[in-house]
Protein backbone atom coordinates (compact mmCIF):
# COMPACT_ATOMS: atom_id res chain seq x y z
CA UNK A 1 0.00 0.00 0.00
CA UNK A 2 1.39 3.40 -0.94
CA UNK A 3 2.30 5.76 1.89
CA UNK A 4 -0.19 8.63 2.01
CA UNK A 5 1.20 11.99 0.90
CA UNK A 6 0.68 15.13 2.90
CA UNK A 7 0.84 18.48 1.16
CA UNK A 8 1.27 22.03 2.37
CA UNK A 9 1.35 25.00 0.02
CA UNK A 10 3.69 27.75 1.25
CA UNK A 11 3.38 31.05 -0.60
CA UNK A 12 6.27 33.46 -0.06
CA UNK A 13 6.62 36.48 -2.30
CA UNK A 14 3.45 35.58 -4.20
CA UNK A 15 5.14 32.33 -5.29
CA UNK A 16 3.17 29.30 -4.07
CA UNK A 17 5.28 26.15 -3.67
CA UNK A 18 3.70 22.82 -2.85
CA UNK A 19 5.66 20.81 -0.26
CA UNK A 20 4.82 17.09 -0.38
CA UNK A 21 5.86 14.55 2.25
CA UNK A 22 4.76 11.24 3.68
CA UNK A 23 6.08 12.33 7.09
CA UNK A 24 3.24 13.69 9.24
CA UNK A 25 5.64 15.15 11.83
CA UNK A 26 7.51 17.09 9.17
CA UNK A 27 4.26 18.40 7.74
CA UNK A 28 3.18 19.61 11.17
CA UNK A 29 6.48 21.42 11.53
CA UNK A 30 6.00 23.05 8.11
CA UNK A 31 2.46 24.17 8.92
CA UNK A 32 3.53 25.60 12.26
CA UNK A 33 6.66 27.35 11.03
CA UNK A 34 5.12 28.91 7.94
CA UNK A 35 1.57 29.36 9.24
CA UNK A 36 1.13 32.99 8.06
CA UNK A 37 2.39 31.96 4.62
CA UNK A 38 0.20 28.87 4.09
CA UNK A 39 -1.90 29.24 0.98
CA UNK A 40 -4.72 27.59 -0.90
CA UNK A 41 -3.44 28.97 -4.20
CA UNK A 42 -2.66 26.58 -7.03
CA UNK A 43 1.04 25.90 -6.63
CA UNK A 44 3.23 26.71 -9.62
CA UNK A 45 6.11 24.73 -8.17
CA UNK A 46 6.35 21.44 -6.31
CA UNK A 47 8.94 19.94 -3.95
CA UNK A 48 8.84 16.35 -2.75
CA UNK A 49 10.56 15.66 0.58
CA UNK A 50 12.19 12.52 1.87
CA UNK A 51 12.84 12.89 5.58
CA UNK A 52 15.81 11.05 7.00
CA UNK A 53 17.32 10.62 10.46
CA UNK A 54 19.09 13.66 11.84
CA UNK A 55 22.64 14.04 10.64
CA UNK A 56 25.49 15.55 12.59
CA UNK A 57 25.71 19.34 12.55
CA UNK A 58 27.90 20.58 9.73
CA UNK A 59 29.61 23.76 8.69
CA UNK A 60 29.79 22.71 5.06
CA UNK A 61 29.21 25.43 2.49
CA UNK A 62 26.24 24.98 0.22
CA UNK A 63 27.11 23.78 -3.29
CA UNK A 64 24.85 24.62 -6.19
CA UNK A 65 25.45 23.21 -9.67
CA UNK A 66 23.43 23.28 -12.88
CA UNK A 67 23.32 20.87 -15.79
CA UNK A 68 20.89 22.30 -18.34
CA UNK A 69 17.64 22.89 -16.46
CA UNK A 70 18.61 20.50 -13.63
CA UNK A 71 20.01 22.08 -10.48
CA UNK A 72 21.66 20.11 -7.70
CA UNK A 73 21.99 21.74 -4.31
CA UNK A 74 23.94 20.05 -1.53
CA UNK A 75 25.00 20.87 1.98
CA UNK A 76 25.92 18.56 4.86
CA UNK A 77 22.31 18.46 6.10
CA UNK A 78 20.39 18.22 2.81
CA UNK A 79 20.46 17.28 -0.84
CA UNK A 80 18.05 18.84 -3.32
CA UNK A 81 17.40 18.53 -7.02
CA UNK A 82 15.41 21.14 -8.90
CA UNK A 83 14.26 21.22 -12.49
CA UNK A 84 13.71 24.84 -13.48
CA UNK A 85 11.87 23.80 -16.67
CA UNK A 86 9.22 21.61 -15.00
CA UNK A 87 9.16 23.52 -11.71
CA UNK A 88 9.52 20.32 -9.71
CA UNK A 89 12.14 19.07 -7.32
CA UNK A 90 13.19 16.54 -4.68
CA UNK A 91 14.72 17.15 -1.28
CA UNK A 92 16.33 14.70 1.13
CA UNK A 93 16.87 16.22 4.55
CA UNK A 94 16.23 15.67 8.22
CA UNK A 95 13.29 17.37 9.90
CA UNK A 96 15.38 20.35 10.97
CA UNK A 97 13.44 23.56 10.16
CA UNK A 98 16.65 25.48 9.50
CA UNK A 99 17.53 23.03 6.74
CA UNK A 100 14.11 23.64 5.21
CA UNK A 101 14.59 27.41 5.50
CA UNK A 102 17.87 27.08 3.59
CA UNK A 103 16.34 24.92 0.87
CA UNK A 104 13.46 27.37 0.38
CA UNK A 105 15.75 30.40 0.30
CA UNK A 106 17.93 28.83 -2.37
CA UNK A 107 14.95 27.69 -4.41
CA UNK A 108 13.31 31.11 -4.26
CA UNK A 109 16.59 32.76 -5.25
CA UNK A 110 16.75 30.58 -8.37
CA UNK A 111 13.08 31.20 -9.24
CA UNK A 112 13.42 34.94 -8.68
CA UNK A 113 16.53 35.21 -10.84
CA UNK A 114 14.49 34.07 -13.83
CA UNK A 115 11.87 36.76 -13.09
CA UNK A 116 14.17 39.74 -12.59
CA UNK A 117 13.94 39.61 -8.80
CA UNK A 118 16.23 38.59 -5.97
CA UNK A 119 16.58 37.87 -2.27
CA UNK A 120 18.59 40.54 -0.47
CA UNK A 121 20.37 40.59 2.89
CA UNK A 122 18.19 43.42 4.11
CA UNK A 123 15.66 44.27 6.77
CA UNK A 124 12.49 45.83 5.44
CA UNK A 125 9.27 47.36 6.64
CA UNK A 126 6.20 49.10 5.28
CA UNK A 127 5.44 52.66 6.30
CA UNK A 128 2.45 54.44 4.74
CA UNK A 129 2.06 51.82 1.99
CA UNK A 130 5.70 52.00 0.92
CA UNK A 131 8.48 49.58 1.68
CA UNK A 132 11.85 50.74 3.01
CA UNK A 133 14.81 48.39 2.81
CA UNK A 134 17.95 48.42 4.97
CA UNK A 135 20.78 46.38 3.59
CA UNK A 136 24.15 45.46 4.95
CA UNK A 137 26.38 42.66 6.06
CA UNK A 138 26.01 40.97 9.43
CA UNK A 139 26.39 43.58 12.17
CA UNK A 140 25.51 46.54 9.96
CA UNK A 141 22.28 47.19 11.87
CA UNK A 142 19.48 45.38 10.01
CA UNK A 143 17.86 43.95 13.12
CA UNK A 144 18.48 47.20 14.99
CA UNK A 145 16.50 49.13 12.36
CA UNK A 146 13.50 46.86 12.89
CA UNK A 147 13.79 46.97 16.69
CA UNK A 148 13.68 50.78 16.78
CA UNK A 149 10.99 51.11 14.12
CA UNK A 150 7.88 53.08 15.13
CA UNK A 151 4.72 51.06 15.90
CA UNK A 152 3.06 51.95 12.60
CA UNK A 153 5.82 50.21 10.61
CA UNK A 154 4.87 46.71 9.49
CA UNK A 155 7.81 44.30 9.63
CA UNK A 156 8.55 42.45 6.39
CA UNK A 157 11.78 40.86 7.64
CA UNK A 158 14.81 41.66 9.75
CA UNK A 159 17.12 39.52 7.60
CA UNK A 160 16.12 38.48 4.06
CA UNK A 161 14.05 40.78 1.84
CA UNK A 162 12.08 39.34 -1.06
CA UNK A 163 12.12 41.63 -4.10
CA UNK A 164 10.13 41.17 -7.30
CA UNK A 165 9.88 43.24 -10.45
CA UNK A 166 6.42 44.03 -11.72
CA UNK A 167 5.52 46.10 -14.76
CA UNK A 168 5.52 49.43 -13.00
CA UNK A 169 7.44 48.91 -9.77
CA UNK A 170 9.74 46.85 -7.64
CA UNK A 171 7.79 45.31 -4.77
CA UNK A 172 9.05 43.96 -1.41
CA UNK A 173 7.28 41.04 0.24
CA UNK A 174 7.35 39.82 3.82
CA UNK A 175 9.26 36.61 4.48
CA UNK A 176 9.36 34.05 7.27
CA UNK A 177 13.17 34.14 7.17
CA UNK A 178 14.10 35.81 10.46
CA UNK A 179 17.45 36.95 11.80
CA UNK A 180 18.38 37.94 15.34
CA UNK A 181 14.86 39.24 15.93
CA UNK A 182 13.64 35.62 15.72
CA UNK A 183 10.30 36.86 14.43
CA UNK A 184 8.81 36.15 11.01
CA UNK A 185 7.77 39.07 8.85
CA UNK A 186 4.15 39.83 8.03
CA UNK A 187 2.73 38.27 4.90
CA UNK A 188 2.18 41.51 3.02
CA UNK A 189 3.82 43.59 0.30
CA UNK A 190 4.38 47.16 -0.89
CA UNK A 191 6.19 49.03 -3.66
CA UNK A 192 9.73 49.92 -2.63
CA UNK A 193 10.30 53.59 -1.82
CA UNK A 194 14.01 53.41 -1.10
CA UNK A 195 16.88 51.04 -0.42
CA UNK A 196 19.33 52.20 2.23
CA UNK A 197 22.79 50.74 2.68
CA UNK A 198 23.51 50.83 6.39
CA UNK A 199 26.57 52.18 8.13
CA UNK A 200 26.60 53.01 11.83
CA UNK A 201 27.87 56.45 12.74
CA UNK A 202 27.74 59.21 15.36
CA UNK A 203 24.74 60.92 13.75
CA UNK A 204 21.92 60.28 11.32
CA UNK A 205 22.66 61.27 7.75
CA UNK A 206 21.34 60.18 4.35
CA UNK A 207 23.76 60.48 1.43
CA UNK A 208 23.43 60.06 -2.31
CA UNK A 209 25.68 57.46 -3.89
CA UNK A 210 26.91 56.82 -7.43
CA UNK A 211 24.88 54.19 -9.25
CA UNK A 212 27.93 52.00 -9.85
CA UNK A 213 28.68 51.97 -6.12
CA UNK A 214 25.02 51.13 -5.42
CA UNK A 215 25.20 48.17 -7.82
CA UNK A 216 28.45 47.00 -6.24
CA UNK A 217 26.90 47.07 -2.77
CA UNK A 218 23.71 45.46 -4.03
CA UNK A 219 25.59 42.56 -5.64
CA UNK A 220 27.51 42.06 -2.42
CA UNK A 221 24.25 41.59 -0.51
CA UNK A 222 22.12 39.64 -2.99
CA UNK A 223 21.79 35.98 -2.04
CA UNK A 224 23.02 33.69 -4.73
CA UNK A 225 24.65 30.37 -4.36
CA UNK A 226 25.76 29.30 -7.78
CA UNK A 227 29.01 29.93 -9.59
CA UNK A 228 26.95 30.00 -12.74
CA UNK A 229 27.79 32.79 -15.24
CA UNK A 230 24.28 32.82 -16.73
CA UNK A 231 22.70 33.23 -13.30
CA UNK A 232 25.21 35.90 -12.25
CA UNK A 233 24.56 37.73 -15.52
CA UNK A 234 20.83 37.80 -14.80
CA UNK A 235 21.39 39.04 -11.26
CA UNK A 236 23.78 41.76 -12.41
CA UNK A 237 21.22 42.89 -14.99
CA UNK A 238 18.51 42.92 -12.30
CA UNK A 239 20.75 44.88 -9.92
CA UNK A 240 21.45 47.51 -12.58
CA UNK A 241 17.75 47.81 -13.43
CA UNK A 242 16.82 48.05 -9.75
CA UNK A 243 19.32 50.87 -9.13
CA UNK A 244 17.96 52.62 -12.22
CA UNK A 245 14.38 52.39 -10.96
CA UNK A 246 14.58 52.66 -7.18
CA UNK A 247 16.32 55.35 -5.10
CA UNK A 248 19.35 53.95 -3.30
CA UNK A 249 21.04 55.86 -0.49
CA UNK A 250 23.75 55.48 2.11
CA UNK A 251 22.23 55.73 5.58
CA UNK A 252 24.70 56.59 8.32
CA UNK A 253 22.77 56.14 11.50
CA UNK A 254 23.00 56.38 15.22
CA UNK A 255 20.95 53.51 16.58
CA UNK A 256 17.98 55.16 18.17
CA UNK A 257 14.44 55.79 16.99
CA UNK A 258 15.17 59.30 15.65
CA UNK A 259 16.66 57.81 12.50
CA UNK A 260 13.16 56.95 11.36
CA UNK A 261 12.32 60.68 11.17
CA UNK A 262 14.97 60.97 8.46
CA UNK A 263 13.73 57.87 6.66
CA UNK A 264 10.16 59.14 6.52
CA UNK A 265 11.37 62.28 4.72
CA UNK A 266 12.65 60.27 1.75
CA UNK A 267 9.88 60.51 -0.78
CA UNK A 268 11.15 57.76 -3.02
CA UNK A 269 9.42 56.65 -6.18
CA UNK A 270 5.79 57.61 -6.89
CA UNK A 271 3.31 55.26 -5.28
CA UNK A 272 1.54 53.15 -7.89
CA UNK A 273 -2.07 52.50 -7.00
Amino acid sequence: MATPKHVACVEIGGTPISLCTSDGFFLSMVEQRYEPFLSTARARFQLEFEIIEATAATDDDVRVHRHGSEWQITRGDFLARWNSRTGTGFVRQNANPYSLDSVLRILHSLILAEQGGFLLHAASGICKERAYLFSGVSGAGKTTMTRIAPPDVRLLTDEISYIRRFDDAYVAFGTPFAGELAKAGENCKAPIACLFFLEKGPENRIEEMPSTEAVRRLMRNILFFAEDPDLVNKLLASACDFVDQVPTRLLRFYPDARVWNHIRQVEGVPLHV
Binding site: T212, V215, R216, R220, E227, P229, V232, L236
Partner: protein
Amino acid sequence: MSETYIARSSAIAARLLAGEMLVMNSANSTFFTLNEVATAIWQAADGKTPLRNIVRDNVCEQFEVEPGQAQADAEQLVTELSEHGILLISDHPLTSETAS
Protein backbone atom coordinates in the same frame (compact mmCIF):
# COMPACT_ATOMS: atom_id res chain seq x y z
CA MET B 1 57.68 41.43 -32.22
CA SER B 2 54.72 39.29 -31.18
CA GLU B 3 51.23 40.64 -30.88
CA THR B 4 48.98 40.42 -27.83
CA TYR B 5 45.40 39.21 -28.21
CA ILE B 6 42.73 39.59 -25.53
CA ALA B 7 39.32 37.94 -25.07
CA ARG B 8 36.64 38.20 -22.43
CA SER B 9 36.41 35.24 -20.06
CA SER B 10 33.25 33.13 -20.08
CA ALA B 11 33.23 33.11 -16.27
CA ILE B 12 32.20 36.73 -15.95
CA ALA B 13 29.05 38.82 -15.98
CA ALA B 14 29.19 42.36 -17.34
CA ARG B 15 26.85 45.31 -17.64
CA LEU B 16 27.30 48.86 -18.90
CA LEU B 17 25.98 51.47 -16.48
CA ALA B 18 26.44 55.22 -16.71
CA GLY B 19 29.30 54.81 -19.18
CA GLU B 20 31.23 52.41 -16.96
CA MET B 21 31.44 48.66 -17.35
CA LEU B 22 30.56 46.65 -14.26
CA VAL B 23 32.26 43.27 -14.34
CA MET B 24 31.79 40.41 -11.93
CA ASN B 25 33.70 37.16 -11.82
CA SER B 26 31.07 34.48 -11.19
CA ALA B 27 33.66 32.05 -9.85
CA ASN B 28 34.74 34.17 -6.89
CA SER B 29 32.25 37.10 -6.87
CA THR B 30 34.97 39.72 -7.26
CA PHE B 31 33.55 42.93 -8.69
CA PHE B 32 35.23 45.55 -10.86
CA THR B 33 34.20 48.88 -12.25
CA LEU B 34 36.01 49.81 -15.46
CA ASN B 35 36.45 53.45 -16.42
CA GLU B 36 35.66 54.68 -19.93
CA VAL B 37 39.06 53.82 -21.40
CA ALA B 38 39.13 50.38 -19.81
CA THR B 39 35.54 49.85 -20.98
CA ALA B 40 36.57 50.65 -24.56
CA ILE B 41 39.36 48.07 -24.38
CA TRP B 42 37.03 45.54 -22.77
CA GLN B 43 34.39 45.98 -25.44
CA ALA B 44 36.95 45.54 -28.21
CA ALA B 45 38.42 42.37 -26.66
CA ASP B 46 37.21 39.99 -29.36
CA GLY B 47 40.22 37.68 -29.31
CA LYS B 48 41.01 38.53 -32.94
CA THR B 49 42.11 42.15 -32.87
CA PRO B 50 45.67 42.75 -31.61
CA LEU B 51 45.87 44.90 -28.49
CA ARG B 52 48.06 47.34 -30.40
CA ASN B 53 45.21 47.94 -32.88
CA ILE B 54 42.64 48.24 -30.10
CA VAL B 55 44.74 50.91 -28.41
CA ARG B 56 45.21 52.75 -31.71
CA ASP B 57 41.57 52.61 -32.86
CA ASN B 58 39.58 52.53 -29.63
CA VAL B 59 41.75 54.46 -27.17
CA CYS B 60 44.04 56.96 -28.92
CA GLU B 61 41.43 58.07 -31.45
CA GLN B 62 38.57 58.24 -28.96
CA PHE B 63 40.31 59.72 -25.94
CA GLU B 64 43.21 61.71 -27.44
CA VAL B 65 45.88 59.85 -25.47
CA GLU B 66 49.57 59.74 -26.37
CA PRO B 67 50.13 56.33 -28.10
CA GLY B 68 53.16 55.18 -26.10
CA GLN B 69 51.53 55.93 -22.76
CA ALA B 70 48.21 54.44 -23.91
CA GLN B 71 49.92 51.19 -24.96
CA ALA B 72 51.77 50.90 -21.65
CA ASP B 73 48.61 51.59 -19.63
CA ALA B 74 46.62 49.10 -21.71
CA GLU B 75 49.22 46.37 -21.21
CA GLN B 76 49.16 46.95 -17.46
CA LEU B 77 45.34 46.91 -17.44
CA VAL B 78 44.95 43.67 -19.39
CA THR B 79 47.60 41.99 -17.22
CA GLU B 80 45.69 42.96 -14.07
CA LEU B 81 42.35 41.84 -15.51
CA SER B 82 43.80 38.53 -16.62
CA GLU B 83 45.18 37.93 -13.12
CA HIS B 84 41.61 38.27 -11.86
CA GLY B 85 40.22 35.90 -14.50
CA ILE B 86 38.40 38.69 -16.30
CA LEU B 87 40.36 38.64 -19.56
CA LEU B 88 42.29 35.96 -21.41
CA ILE B 89 45.64 36.94 -22.94
CA SER B 90 47.51 35.14 -25.68
CA ASP B 91 50.15 35.76 -28.32
CA HIS B 92 47.86 34.21 -30.91
CA PRO B 93 44.18 34.89 -31.77
CA LEU B 94 41.59 33.60 -29.30
CA THR B 95 37.94 32.66 -29.48
CA SER B 96 36.01 35.26 -27.50
CA GLU B 97 34.20 33.26 -24.85
CA THR B 98 31.42 35.69 -24.14
CA ALA B 99 28.86 37.62 -26.12
CA SER B 100 29.38 41.31 -26.55
